[in-house]
Structures are given as structure tokens and as C-alpha cells.
């Protein structure tokens, strides 16, 4: 027995060690499943994903790391939307990093690399070289060091095949090394967060679509009611039964002209609305024929002359040579008219310039005004359906003209773009291939 004692003791020791190790694994597993359960609960709390991501960052810090930051791609730019750290004394550090070294598409942050590649970045032990490679300058390194940067992981937040953002965690504890098992649980957190973000974004998009539709309906009724009001007034003016109020021949002709103009306005609005319905359903059927764009523009300007005069805009044209291509003349006429209408509406009574010129195997039409211009942040939006660069409190219009232009130009295989600065005016450029693309 005495001989067996040491062996028995060491067996006992081994057993104890084994048990302890299993217990640690079990505790770790429990901690992880608790983290996942809590993460799921946090993520389903609200559709305001910024609030949710702040909570998630705090949760990750509580169980996994010294600090955690979450970056999302919003409108094409990287935004740091959430951050948390274990040490309350370091709160200011995260803020300072966010303010002075925000992640950008050309910055060295691990999250930027993750957003570009969609692949996780794991740094079990951050070396001097790693740290230099991942930071912008000495000051960035100093702040990173102070926050804690001995080990870290950056993970993609991906859902529906898109990388929506990145989650980065780190630690300054020399004992803490992020490895494959951390990666597993953090990947799962990231996956759940990404689904929650994608759902929230879809929700906000649908809310935005509803808002746009409501605004559109309000604007559309205004647009239809305005000429209708003028038309009805004119007709009622003509039809007044009181013999003392009868108009003379000249008066009748004047009011009839006014009424006719309103009828035309209403027709154009209704056609625009019908076009949009057609365009949203599918591609436009073009009736291509040989067209001289210069002549088409000249005639369009002549037809719209009265409107331009009333808008106080002088028009000059540079239509030197015929520019002949295979296009749908009715549709191109619509493009010219819509661009002219916009130039007159937003042109602030200043001159408008039109030009048509050949550029290689393409025709280029430019319509330039010197009016209120378009804010750079609005320039991509204005070609979308129901969108407007300005408040509907100030300007009428259905918000469909540029959408219709874009669809017509694209159906011809062409492109439309805008060059504008606020208060300097806007130049719209349409480029059309002379011949239809080979099918």
C-alpha cells in the first residue's frame, strides 16, 4: 500500500487536473453559450441598430476582450457606430481614436482590411511590425497602446452575401491571446449581428420607401391640382351667367388660351405618371429611326420658348453640325423637355446653355443652367424615382423627370450625369451611342 501511495496520489492528481481542465472547458463553453444567448437577446431588442450595437459591444467586452469597436459601411463610407472598453478610465481613449483616427477606405485599420477582403484578421500576438502596419503614425500607436493592443481579432459582419461592417476586439493583457476558439464564438456573434443589422437596414429602407411614396402622393396631388385649379377658374370665368360680367371677344380668347395651356400641362403630368408605371415594370420599347439630335433640340427649345421666357431664362444653343444617330425621337424629345423644364425651374432667371456635339461614336447633349445648383450629397439621388434635390416645400414637380430621363437614356445604351455646385448652377450631360448596341 505504501508503495502504491505515490502512484495513487499522482493518479489522483492527474484525475483532479483532468477534472479541473474539463471544468474549465465546460465553464468556457457555458460562458460562450451565455454570450451567444445574450447577444441574440440584445440584437432582437430594437430595430435601432446603433443602440443595439452599442449594447453588443459592451456585452463582448464583458466576456471576451478589453475593448470592442464596430464599424459599418453607410452610404459608401466607413462609420464607427459603436465602441466599448472594460476599463471605464479609458472611455476618452476610444472617443479620441474615433475622432482623430477614424477608419477610412484608405486607412490601415484592421477593420478596413476586413471590409475590403471580407476575411477575418487574427492577431494572436501583435508584433512591432504588425502594429506599425496597422496604424497611421506614432500618435495612433500611442493611443492604441494605451487602449491595449497585444492581441486582437477583426471580423466581417456579413449577411446576404454582403459585408456590412466589421467588429474588432482587442486586449492589452499579455496572457490573453485570441485564437481559433475565440474566433469561433466571435464569428457566431458577428454572424448574428450582421443578420440583425441587415434586417434593421431593410426595415429602414422600407420605411424610407413608404415616406417617399407619401411625399410623392402629396406632391403629385399638388402638381395635378395646380393646373386643374387654373383650368377650372378659367372655364368658370368663361361661363359666368351674370350678363354684367360677360367677357368681350378678346377676353374670351385670352382665357381660352390660358385654359388650353393648363390642359397641356395636365396631359404632360399624366403621361409622366404613366411612363413611370411603364418604366418600373420593365425596359422601354424604342422606336428607333434616323434622327438629327441638333434639329431635335432646336425644335424642342422653340416649342418650350414661351415657358422659358416666363421663367425669365434666356437660352443660347450651340448646335453647329447635324449629329445623326439611330434613336427614338419622341423619347429623346422627352429628355430634352425634362432637362429644359428643370433648368427653367431651378435656373433662377439666369441664362441656360444647350449644346449638341459628336464625341467619337457618341453624341453629347449638355444642358447648363446657372441657378441654385445641387448639393453634392444629393447628386446621386436625384436620378431616382420620386427623389428631389430640394424640399417639396419650395419646389413643385413630380420628382420623376430625371428618373424618366435616365431610363430613356439608358434604354438607348447611353449615360446621363450631372456636374453641379450649390448656387453655381447645374450642367446635365447626356451621352448617346450613335448606333444601337449589337445584340
Amino acid at each position: 500500500v505504501a508503495e502504491k501511495a505515490p502512484s495513487g496520489e499522482s493518479e489522483l492528481q492527474a484525475l483532479l487536473e483532468q477534472t479541473r481542465s474539463k471544468l474549465r472547458v465546460a465553464e468556457e463553453l457555458e460562458r460562450r453559450s451565455a454570450l451567444l444567448a445574450e447577444a441574440s437577446a440584445v440584437l432582437s431588442e430594437s430595430l435601432d441598430y446603433k443602440v443595439v450595437l452599442e449594447r453588443l459591444a459592451r456585452l463582448v467586452v464583458r466576456s471576451q476582450a478589453d475593448w470592442c469597436v464596430i464599424d459599418l459601411v453607410e452610404d459608401g463610407e466607413i462609420q464607427r457606430v459603436a465602441g466599448a472598453q472594460a476599463d471605464p478610465g479609458k472611455e476618452a481613449l476610444l472617443e479620441e481614436l474615433k475622432r482623430r483616427y477614424p477608419p477610412r477606405w484608405d486607412s490601415r485599420h484592421p477593420s478596413t482590411q476586413v471590409l475590403k477582403t471580407g476575411e477575418p484578421q487574427v492577431f494572436p500576438q501583435v508584433s512591432e511590425e504588425d502594429f506599425a502596419r496597422l496604424t497611421e503614425d506614432a500618435e495612433h500607436r500611442r493611443l492604441g497602446q494605451a487602449l491595449g493592443a497585444r492581441s486582437g481579432v477583426a471580423l466581417p459582419l456579413a449577411a446576404h452575401g454582403r459585408v456590412l461592417g466589421a467588429l474588432t476586439v482587442g486586449s492589452g493583457d499579455p496572457q490573453r491571446r485570441f485564437g481559433p476558439s475565440d474566433l469561433d464564438v466571435l464569428m457566431e456573434v458577428a454572424r448574428r449581428a450582421a443578420i440583425a443589422i441587415a434586417n434593421a437596414q431593410l426595415y429602414h429602407q422600407s420605411q424610407e420607401a413608404v415616406r417617399l411614396r407619401d411625399e410623392f402622393l402629396s406632391v403629385a396631388s399638388h402638381e395635378l391640382n395646380t393646373p386643374m385649379a387654373a383650368l377650372m377658374l378659367s372655364l368658370e370665368g368663361l361661363g359666368t351667367p351674370d350678363p354684367d360680367l360677360q367677357l368681350d371677344q378678346k377676353g374670351i380668347a385670352h382665357v381660352a388660351r390660358l385654359a388650353e395651356r393648363q390642359g397641356k400641362r395636365l396631359t404632360k403630368l399624366i403621361n409622366d405618371l404613366l411612363d413611370v408605371t411603364r418604366l418600373t415594370r420593365g425596359a422601354l420599347a424604342l422606336n428607333r429611326e434616323e434622327v438629327d439630335l441638333a434639329t431635335l433640340v432646336r425644335e424642342g427649345v422653340a416649342r418650350y420658348k414661351a415657358e422659358l421666357e416666363r421663367a425669365g431664362c434666356e437660352v443660347s444653343t450651340r448646335l453647329a453640325t447635324p449629329v445623326v444617330g439611330q434613336w427614338d425621337p419622341m423619347r429623346l424629345d422627352q429628355v430634352v423637355l425634362n432637362l429644359l423644364t428643370n433648368a427653367a425651374r431651378f435656373g433662377a432667371r439666369k441664362p441656360i446653355e444647350l449644346a449638341v456635339e459628336p464625341v467619337g461614336d457618341r453624341a453629347r447633349l449638355t444642358v447648363a443652367d446657372h441657378g441654385i445648383g445641387i448639393d453634392p450629397t444629393q447628386q446621386a439621388r436625384i436620378f431616382e424615382r420620386f427623389e428631389r434635390g430640394v424640399s417639396s416645400h419650395n419646389y413643385g414637380g413630380l420628382g420623376l423627370g430625371l428618373y424618366i430621363c435616365k431610363r430613356i437614356v439608358e434604354s438607348h445604351g447611353g449615360v446621363i450625369s450631372v456636374d453641379s455646385r450649390p448656387a453655381q448652377g447645374a450642367t446635365f450631360i447626356v451621352e448617346l451611342p450613335l448606333h444601337p448596341p449589337e445584340s
Binding site: 402629396s218 399638388h222 391640382n225 385649379a229 377650372m232 370665368g237 382665357v255 390660358l258 395651356r261 419650395n394
Partner: protein, 134 residues
């Protein structure tokens, strides 16, 4: 069209749409109400400052470039010599603008106008005794 130097009280139409201005001017004119017009809020304020007489009524559109109807109304309220001029909102917009129009504490005449309602309203404020006073 400007206002003749007469003692007749006039209606001020503030609307960015030239056709609305012209048709209101024509029709109210037929019915004996002189009309002055402005294409936006700041043009209307200028006109009011230049005129010695006050309009009996302002017909105000809401959606206008430059100074819109909401801003114009605030401008009127801020000036004691204009604050008492009656204002009727003329709008063709839907519910969204209606809700906001409520904040302006003004009657609303909806486009397209009911000519009878329009004339009744104008007479109520302008008390011109009809067209025969010319």
C-alpha cells in the same frame, strides 16, 4: 399686374405658379376684386412694404421657391403692421401638407377651387359689396 391708385381694397395672391396667379387675377378681376400678385414670400413682403394700403386678404400658396408659405406667414406674424391681415392658404397638396397647414392657424382653400367658395371667402373679407362698386 400692379394696383391702380384707387381706394379699393385688393387681394394679394402669393403663388409661384404663373398660371394660378394669372387665372386668379382674371377671375377675381371679372368679379370686381383687384388683385396684386407675388411669386414668393419675399416678393410679397416687398410689395406689402411698398404699398401704403393693406390687402383685405392674402391668398397664400405653401410650396414656393425662395421664401415658402410657412416662412412668409412667420414673417407676417413678426411684423405688427402685417400680423392682422387675414390669410387663406391655397393648396393642392395632400394630407401631409394639410397637417402642417394646421399649424398656420388659417383657413384652407383647396385647389382646384370651387369658384363659389372662393368668391364667398373673398367677399367675406373684402366686403367690397360685389363688382358693382367700381
Amino acid at each position: 399686374m400692379g394696383i391702380e391708385a384707387s381706394s379699393r381694397r385688393f387681394v394679394l395672391v402669393v403663388d409661384d405658379d404663373p398660371d394660378i396667379r394669372e387665372s386668379l387675377e382674371t377671375v377675381l378681376g371679372i368679379h370686381g376684386h383687384p388683385v396684386a400678385t407675388a411669386a414668393d414670400g419675399s416678393e410679397a413682403i416687398d410689395l406689402l412694404r411698398r404699398q401704403s394700403s393693406r390687402p383685405c386678404l392674402i391668398l397664400l400658396d405653401l410650396m414656393m421657391p425662395g421664401m415658402n408659405g410657412f416662412e412668409f406667414r412667420a414673417e407676417l406674424d413678426a411684423d405688427p403692421s402685417f400680423a392682422k391681415i387675414p390669410v387663406i392658404i391655397i393648396t393642392g397638396a395632400g394630407v401631409l401638407v394639410d397637417e402642417k397647414a394646421g399649424s398656420l392657424r388659417a383657413e384652407v382653400l383647396r385647389k382646384p377651387f370651387d369658384l363659389k367658395a372662393l368668391l364667398t371667402t373673398v367677399k367675406r373679407f373684402c366686403n367690397a359689396g360685389g363688382y358693382a362698386t367700381a
